[in-house]
């Protein structure tokens, strides 16, 4: 199986910066009519990471990226409206943001890739696998939902904390959001780490219009009807203490996606990847390697 076509552009990037542990150096690609900023790290089968609502690629925990980069060619990018990517006033429908991902794969000449989506990024990953199934080797959905009638939305008090941020400076808004994204005990004992994480995320703050349009797109999103057609091996993971996207949503996803694996990590909240990085890396790494082994053995889903 040829997972990744020979790509001068991607290879050149990897030659320059092949190893984990270096600072982020973003490159640009003209994709789907806008500029998308991306970064490539490590070597191995391609793994594209799709970030969630309002966050850019700098938000991924550094040790998470470093650990994955030891086993995979990790592709990080800023969703439209965030980080160093363009911030247009249009095109935030998640299906179109999935098209951005597909366009980035074209730019990097990656024919098929493993895709990991976190939160709203998980919704984009679902759109990607439903619309371009041939491009997704395997799928990891973290702390996400399917939208529509099958989705279990957070309580209005939680939604209001996420959405009613008018008049707050970016740091105050981020601290307000922490209360529903981090597990309270983790937050109390890791406040310095969380603060540093926030500073990194706020280096390129997301403009209000982009945040609003992403939120609108996330509300409109619904793949509940389409997920039964997914044939890519899928891992669904979440924390059982997630109040923003309740863990029940992951159970629903596991019911909808044929043969999906489900991992609900006890004691973690929406930011499960940040709170339990080692456990998540192990789960994701093992799942992707398992999938790879099955594909190499000529399993039908690898095409």
């Amino acid at each position: 199986m040829k997972e990744r076509r020979k790509s001068d552009r991607a290879d050149k990037l990897q030659e320059q910066i092949p190893l984990a542990g270096r600072p982020m150096t973003m490159c640009d690609a003209e994709v789907n009519g806008i500029k998308i900023a991306f970064d490539i790290r490590g070597s191995g089968p391609p793994l594209i990471l799709v970030m969630g609502y309002r966050l850019n690629s700098r938000a991924w925990p550094l040790d998470f990226i470093d650990a994955l980069a030891e086993r995979f060619t990790v592709v990080l990018f800023d969703n439209r409206g965030t980080g160093l990517s363009d911030k247009p006033l249009f095109g935030y429908e998640l299906s179109n943001m999935a098209k951005d991902v597909c366009g980035l794969m074209d730019h990097l000449e990656i024919a098929r890739a493993n895709v990991l989506g976190y939160s709203m990024g998980g919704a984009i990953a679902q759109e990607l696998v439903c619309r371009y199934p041939e491009r997704v080797l395997s799928l990891v959905l973290c702390a996400t939902l399917c939208g529509g009638r099958r989705a279990i939305y957070a309580r209005s008090t939680v939604i209001n904390i996420m959405h009613d941020l008018d008049g707050l400076d970016p740091a105050a808004a981020a601290r307000r959001i922490w209360t529903v994204t981090y597990e309270p005990k983790y937050l109390a004992t890791n406040i310095d780490k969380v603060e540093r994480q926030m500073q990194r995320e706020l280096e390129t703050p997301t403009p209000l219009h982009a945040a609003d349009l992403q939120f609108q797109a996330f509300v409109d999103f619904d793949t509940s009807e389409a997920l039964s057609s997914v044939r890519s091996p899928t891992l669904i993971m979440t924390g059982d203490g997630d109040v923003l996207i309740p863990a029940r949503n992951s159970e629903v996803l596991a019911e909808l996606i044929p043969d999906a694996q489900l991992a609900i990590l006890p004691g973690f909240a929406h930011r499960v990847i940040w709170e339990s990085t080692g456990q998540c890396v192990a789960l994701i790494g093992n799942f992707l390697e398992q999938t790879q082994a099955a594909a190499n053995a000529g399993d039908s889903y690898a095409g």
């Binding site: 006033l89 008049g167 209000l208 219009h209 609003d212 349009l213 609108q216 509300v219 409109d220």
Partner: protein
């Protein structure tokens, strides 16, 4: 959903709808308040019947899914200023304001206690629309009820830097002209269709007096708001 009334059609519309002699032209400017009240709520003789009819309408509509935010498109956080109609104020617009907030917009109070004379709305509306636009960094949408539309259009004309669209919920006068650079959208009760005969005006069932809580009007309103593109303020 029907489209938006465009300024090109307005002169034609004005000609089509003849101006009727009002009470104020007969009794003088002092009778303006009575004139507006009669134009808005009809003759007092019919008020008991109208009240009963309004109560029935409210009862029939009370369980409409629109009030729970269902079957309406979610908003993109645009700032919205509500302009009350005759004898209305921020309090009467509170249900619509809360609903707009729930479906993803940023309604701003216009700080109008009661609209007795639409001329008195100009200052608070200017402050509200400019403040909302500057706070969010985008042009504001004004949603105006009957006589409030006059003030909304006056303010929009002057403040076009901060106002992109005016949505009229009920017309108190024949179709007005939209200020240059500002889009005008109209939602009108089917019972006043003669005032707004153009097919591109959004006609909804139900009484005119209850347009501000009419679920059909809210549904159309959500559709219009969704279609209005975000316009960022020119910060340069």
């Amino acid at each position: 959903m029907r489209g938006t009334a465009m300024p090109d059609d307005l002169n034609r519309l004005k000609k089509r709808v003849p101006h009727q002699a009002s009470v104020s032209t007969i009794l003088g400017p002092a009778a303006g308040f009575i004139d507006e009240t009669l134009r808005t709520f009809g003759l007092p003789l019919f008020w008991p019947y109208d009240s009963l009819e309004a109560a029935v309408e409210v009862l029939l509509n009370s369980s409409d899914a629109v009030y729970r935010g269902q079957n309406v498109p979610y908003g993109d956080g645009k700032p919205v200023v509500l302009v009350p109609g005759h004898l209305g104020g921020d309090v009467t617009l509170a249900p619509l304001s809360m609903w707009l907030h729930a479906i993803g917009y940023r309604p701003a109070k216009s700080n109008i206690l009661i609209n007795i004379n639409d001329r008195s709305l100009d200052n608070p509306l200017t402050v509200a629309s400019r403040g909302a636009a500057l706070r969010i960094g985008r042009k504001t949408i004004m949603i105006a009820f009957d006589t409030g539309l006059r003030s909304a259009l006056r303010v929009a004309e002057v403040e076009r830097e901060y106002v992109s669209d005016v949505i009229a919920l009920g017309l108190s006068d024949p179709m007005p002209a939209a200020p240059t650079g500002v889009r005008l959208h109209v939602i009108e009760s089917a019972r006043r269709a003669s005032v707004a005969p153009d097919q591109r005006v959004n006609i909804v069932p139900g009484s005119r007096a209850l347009l501000y809580v009419n679920p059909a009007a809210w549904r159309v309103l959500a559709g219009i708001l969704r279609e209005i593109p975000i316009t960022l303020l020119d910060r340069s």
